[in-house]
């Protein structure tokens, strides 16, 4: 049990030691780092519970057939649109999207659509877009959004093509 814990968290524990060592040599940087980590941790913890609860509900209630029908291989444009809207409606950092993507893959979404979902989550999240427009202006935001939509589709397409020979590893 303890050994298992140490094995899984060894990188984390090592990083704590590194951070402490840096703090010992350069107290200012060490303290600042701890503060930033603390701030981020609080922010993440406040946003992560609903994402994972929704993920759990998705896993239990949406069966494979439904998921395949709406976002699977033959779902066409509708599937792409659903993946895009799901990703854009999200909140939280990109790495919170990976477990959700894992469930989608497991349930039979096509890799292309899951990649669209990841792309949308990374750049076209609606709350982020409004914040971007407020800070950097509407012209910048809309130009970038237009480019991103094209980019997301191209990235998903090429990634899927290049992977066609192998199936991706599926966890969860």
């Amino acid at each position: 049990m303890m050994k298992d814990f140490l094995k899984r968290y060894k990188v984390f524990l090592l990083l704590i030691i590194i951070n402490a060592a840096i703090g010992f040599v350069m107290p200012e940087v060490g303290l600042k780092s701890v503060n930033i980590t603390k701030q981020n941790l609080i922010e993440m913890i406040s946003i992560i519970p609903p994402i994972f609860i929704l993920l759990g509900l998705l896993d239990v209630w949406v069966d494979r057939a439904t998921m395949m029908k709406y976002t699977g291989k033959g779902s066409g444009f509708k599937g792409v649109l659903i993946a895009f809207v799901l990703g854009s409606a999200a909140a939280g950092p990109l790495y919170a999207a990976f477990p959700v993507a894992g469930v989608m893959l497991k349930k039979g979404s096509s890799l292309f659509n899951v990649l669209i979902f990841i792309g949308a989550w990374s750049t076209t999240k609606i709350p982020m877009l409004t914040f971007e427009a407020a800070n950097l202006g509407i012209a910048f935001t809309l130009t970038r959004l237009a480019l991103s939509i094209i980019g997301i589709i191209i990235i998903a397409g090429i990634t899927e093509k290049l992977l066609k020979t192998r199936t991706p590893k599926r966890v969860i």
Partner: protein, 158 residues
Amino acid sequence: MFTYVLYGLAGTGLAVSFFKDRNKTIMALKKAWKSFENILPQFLSILIIIGLALAILSPETITKLLGTNSGIWGVAAASVIGSITLIPGFIAFPLAAALLKNGAGYMQITAFVSTLMMVGIVTMPLEIKTFGKRATIIRNALAFVFSLVSAFVIGMVL
């Protein structure tokens, strides 16, 4: 604000689910916890790496690197910094706005913002867990190239 919407959705979902099927709801919560616990070690490590990276690469340092007349090297620096670090949007966009005021061009800012959002070197272990090594490397490499392309396009248009 948006966080509340998510909580609302999750809460409503749980309530409806509980009303319909108690056992399934408990299973959903167990799965939620399991998926979370599954990524927890990487998640905690990533948070510390971000903390360290941002403590060393302070907004002042970033401003120096991407500031006035940083040109093509500014774009290079911007895309590398954006790929490695993981700055939450509520810090990144005001920082980008400040950089613009301090003389950085739209090109550098786009490279920074775009790689920040799409390329995640630090979060790769988590991505590999879901998609496998090959897909992860391909996606990140493509996203990096795309960020450079959009930086140049925006640099020319705006």
